[in-house]
Symmetry: C2
Subunit: 675 residues, 2 copies
């Protein structure tokens, strides 16, 4: 490539032609890029709707993301409020209906820019926990933003463990009111989004006390700020919890309540009601409601997790096709860094992982939809399996994706450290998902509890759910691969992953049982096995992802090109996981040393194969430049031009000379006579 | 623990008494805490000096770090300049001499707050590359800050590969000047610290052209900004590269040169000189100079890397002794999270790693000091080994420490995501070290090149350096451990690590050789093996760290308590590494499935043992609260009080009502009639 000289670069406009180093990567894709985009979108029609929405967003200056990396937390918050309300108005104008695909693509594209996310949870919690009258009264107000809500559950000293929450709601029969209190410092509500600077109302979770007796956690809808002047109501102390690693657009807040009175009819009462005389009346089953926690996890995997990993892959792979460094062949020009095996080994497994999680999240959605239908019909037997799957997939998706984004970022060297690359904020945002919606270790141990139960049932000959069928049906011997090519057979690697999951679970189960038999208390034995139990759950879910990816492929067997490239990605995902965890697979000689060498070779052989299509494979994701907001990752590959243009706009280049005048000039003047 | 009620918390002062949950952890340490602090400091006298310095810093309001997490990039930069110049003045006043321990502790304690770091590199580069006259002219001016310098090597399109740099310096015999140019966009200098908004001078690396012929990279000292008004000199375009993941205190910059003339005597000419007639004259050897690159890596491991991991461990372990969550035993109060095996498995290996890296960095310093002495005497034969060690240890220390800090951060749940925890900024700062001072993959492959060479020499029966002696002297059979306790014998695990390193290197070497024999070009074969070569280098360095930790212990054999706890940490570090990489150790049956189970049990058994001393073991690091700057990690364990106090000071709580008045009030007024 001929170097572009400085004088050829217009300072105020980014060139529209594509960097030849990137262009050439797009010349001969081995598969139909548009077709694969349609597959990921769920059909050509959806691709079209998505593009309609994204083109509008890209072109509307009110939704611009320019200069976002230069903004303070306060500016980001204000932008979040402004954009959210603008978007709501526009969507109404355009007739994009609630629950429809346009609206969905809007919020997916803009979610990291918007406020009112927990306001939506506030609405959903009323819909899920409120009576029909409560829904009729509150939901329309919230949907029109006439009130702003938050969902206040987590406390300063209490997260995952709901029973530990300390906020109290004591019923006063005389006035027919609940009296809400924050009895200790650690009981203050902490972290709820939209609480810090926005919410006028909150659904507050508190321990219900009736006649001095505790009735457990219940939800109370209460006003916390004036609608007229936004000042906190009497007894309410509320504010923002300050700077975080990301989520500057969200005003996470704290809330302290001191004898705040809430009328009896404001306890959300679909499932239990307090009668005027102070009796508590339970009604219906909240098992459907239990699904609302799961649905959040199911939705976040596709919308918040996989999409971020896809963005990071897009940025890092496009950049690696443009960035040149060192001689690969002596005497040649500097090589594209994407041609180095070490770079391929960093990026291409992340790409395969993004595809794997896309397909497993579709699978999870199907399982969820079925369970949802069943639950509505009063059949609840699939819930434990669904919960174990959703928890486990949430964990593996958030863990692998966040570490994958960081691998992508570091693979871009120094420029990956600049906020202008877009990569740091993808990481700092995504990594939060390892903690929210269920802390990952806690979730893994819940999946493990399900597995241990199934393991015992399988041993006793009872039927077990399909996702764990291998626990009863399998008789594992040794791996049957004889040459490295055998490891490109999904039957071979699925068997290996099943064997590994079985073995890891068996190790933990045997230890657990023997400890109990030795007289160790059950809870202590569980704790002593928890590292291995968590690992067994991870091995199980890893198997699920591999198997579901392999199954998804089969749908495209008649489209040779698409099938071939997806098969390569599935193989890479499976073999990369084996390469990184060989010890698990070698237990009891399931894999021999020679077979481990075959896995390694088979894995490494795939890298140059996928590398040829690496850029088309990220083009498939079809992100707009606005959506990527990356100086390194734009479609045209004009990396250096963009870095320079963006850097010049940084506020660090538009300061007055105060630092010079105050601190430097008095010193520098001493050099004037000497130079 | 009785809960502190809200009314007992003074809103404006943090209570000084220690949280009983933390206090109890300090009641019965199994070892002498102060003695171990002295050992890490290098003697009781050094501890005393360090405390003198840190107490002064803690008490001087000019050096306060309060509100740092609320500051913008511009504010952080201004603070960096102000504090640096204040500190320089104070150190002079106190008579703390250059190169003395007081000054060293100052800069170590404050480095993340200061500017002028690359200014110091500018000074060192003149000292290393300049003639005596050049040193005499420029160094005193820079040391007094009468000029501010930067070291401009990296370019927008070029990092690690120095020969790829594009900036040119063409000698004009007529005027006896070099004409410096940035010929392309990718040639602009990019990233140098202190360049963006501070430097008046720069050492610029450029391709020297004499009579149309290239002579390779040379350093040119040039002025870039006016000393009078700080405006860029003619032909100079200079500015700041904008926001980064961290390092807001540093003004990383860009620099474009257009026909900027530099007098002949400004080429730093210790090793080569341009004569008036345009001839280039080489003089002396620059091998000593080669050490200056290594010395930076040696120094950064202790000062920038290990210290940050130690801080993260301190914060996360103290917090985990205070934070309570869920019932461990049914009916008991919520348990300290540090009592969960899964939490111990996250944090305690990081603690062991911090100690391991402390000792290996002392070892590296010794190797360096010896090589330095030898080099001065003209003996250069230790340089390749030193380079391989320093590169490899830099890689393992930065990789393990940065991922370790992130493990600590995530182990603190939601609060670890708040900047007020101090943990996010430790991570975002430390992770940069994986890229700067030699990108880690590049460095690993340099170490691998040394290992492959030694492997060949060993095979041919030639003598090889001591750190790789195992490549020739060993005859590996099977691991000789029979019961889990055998794995607490350093001879056993050192042998295992040697075998693994040998095996990984052998795998790569055999593959490399067979590819070449098949006719694959050397550079292609190297690239095809580079993933395995990099891994072999990692395995070698992992072995070095384990062995040096085990050796360091031996010095304290007469102090039973200190020896015992260090031995536990060394065992944990070694076994944790085996547990995570069992596949490598199982090759050819070196470890059997049964032995892997023993390693796992031995590793897990150590967790509760070390957990008992976990808080004393981080108290050993002896960080002041100012230095930690963490709401979660302070000595008194008053976590929730501090989070609340600090959050209230956040600028997000001190905004006018503009957002409410502009966006929210017009909507909320619609609800007034309805509620």
């Amino acid at each position: 490539m001929k170097k572009r000289s400085l004088s050829q670069i217009s300072p105020n406009s980014i060139m529209k032609d594509v960097n030849p180093d990137l262009d050439i990567e797009r010349q001969n894709p081995s598969f139909d890029v548009e077709r694969l985009t349609n597959i990921l979108d769920g059909g050509a029609e959806k691709t079209q709707i998505r593009r309609t929405v994204e083109t509008w967003i890209q072109n509307d200056p009110e939704l611009s993301r320019e200069n976002q990396y230069f903004q303070s937390q306060n500016e980001r918050y204000e932008e979040g409020i402004r954009k959210s309300l603008y978007l709501a108005k526009k969507m109404d104008e355009m007739g994009w209906v609630e629950g429809g695909p346009h609206r969905d693509y809007c919020s997916r594209s803009l979610s990291s820019d918007l406020a009112f996310n927990v306001h939506q949870v506030f609405v959903k919690s009323i819909l899920g926990l409120g009576t029909d009258e409560q829904i009729a009264k509150w939901v329309p107000l919230a949907q029109k933003f006439y009130i702003a809500g938050t969902y206040a559950q987590t406390e300063l000293g209490h997260g995952t463990y709901l029973r530990g929450l300390e906020t109290t709601a004591t019923f006063d029969v005389a006035t027919q009111e609940f009296i809400l209190n924050t009895p200790t410092l650690s009981a203050m509500k902490w972290w709820p989004g939209d609480l810090g600077r926005t919410a006028t109302h909150a659904v507050v979770f508190a321990q219900l006390y009736l006649n001095g007796k505790s009735y457990g956690m219940h939800p109370f809808l209460m006003q916390i700020r004036s609608l007229r002047d936004h000042s906190p109501l009497p007894g309410v102390t509320v504010g923002d919890i300050g700077p975080k690693m990301n989520f500057e657009n969200v005003d996470n807040g704290f809330l302290v309540l001191k004898n705040v009175r809430v009328p009896r009819e404001n306890m959300l009462a679909r499932f239990s009601q307090v009668l005027p005389d102070g009796q508590c009346k339970k009604q219906g089953t909240d098992k459907i409601n239990y699904l609302t926690m799961i649905v959040v996890r199911v939705a976040m995997i596709q919308r918040e997790v996989v999409i971020i990993l896809m963005k990071a892959c897009t940025i890092a792979i496009r950049y690696s096709a443009v960035r040149r460094q060192s001689e690969l062949k002596p005497g040649d020009p500097e090589a594209k860094i994407l041609d180095y095996q070490t770079q391929q080994q960093k990026l291409l497994p992340q790409l395969a992982t993004a595809y794997a999680f896309h397909f497993v999240s579709s699978y999870l959605q199907e399982v969820f939809d079925k369970a949802y239908t069943d639950t509505k019909e009063g059949k609840f037997d699939q819930l434990p399996e669904l919960h174990a799957l959703a928890s486990g997939i949430k964990v593996i998706a958030t863990e692998y994706s966040s570490s994958g984004v960081e691998v992508c970022r570091k693979a871009c060297g120094g420029h990956g450290y600049s906020l202008l690359s877009g990569l740091p904020s993808l990481y700092t945002r995504l990594v939060a998902s390892c903690t929210y919606e269920g802390e990952n270790t806690v979730l893994l141990l819940q999946t493990a509890r399900f597995l241990i139960k199934c393991f015992g049932m399988a041993k006793d000959g009872h039927p077990i759910p399909s996702s764990v069928a291998y626990l009863s049906s399998k008789n594992f011997g040794k791996c049957q691969a004889w040459k490295k090519g055998d490891f490109l057979n999904p039957d071979v690697y699925i068997d290996a992953y099943q064997q590994r999951a079985f073995r890891m679970l068996q190790n933990a189960a045997i230890k657990l049982q023997s400890l109990v038999q030795l007289g160790v208390a059950q809870h202590e034995a569980w704790n002593s096995c928890s590292v291995q139990l968590a690992w067994a759950a991870m091995a199980h879910i890893h198997y699920i992802v591999v198997e579901q990816f392999a199954k998804a492929l089969q749908r495209y067997e008649r489209e040779a090109d698409v099938h071939r490239i997806l098969k390569h990605l599935c193989d890479l995902f499976a073999l990369h996981g084996m390469y990184l965890n060989t010890g698990d697979f070698m237990q009891d000689g399931y894999l021999s040393t020679e077979q481990v060498a075959m896995v390694t070779e088979s894995y490494l052989d795939l890298l140059p194969v996928i590398r040829r299509d690496a850029v088309p494979l990220v083009d498939v994701f079809d992100f707009t430049d606005t959506s990527l907001n990356s100086a390194l990752g734009s479609y045209d590959g004009r990396v250096y031009e963009r870095l320079y243009e963006w850097a010049k706009k940084s506020p660090t280049n538009n300061q007055d000379k105060r630092v010079f005048e105050t601190y430097l000039k008095p010193l520098f003047k001493n050099a004037l006579s000497k130079l």
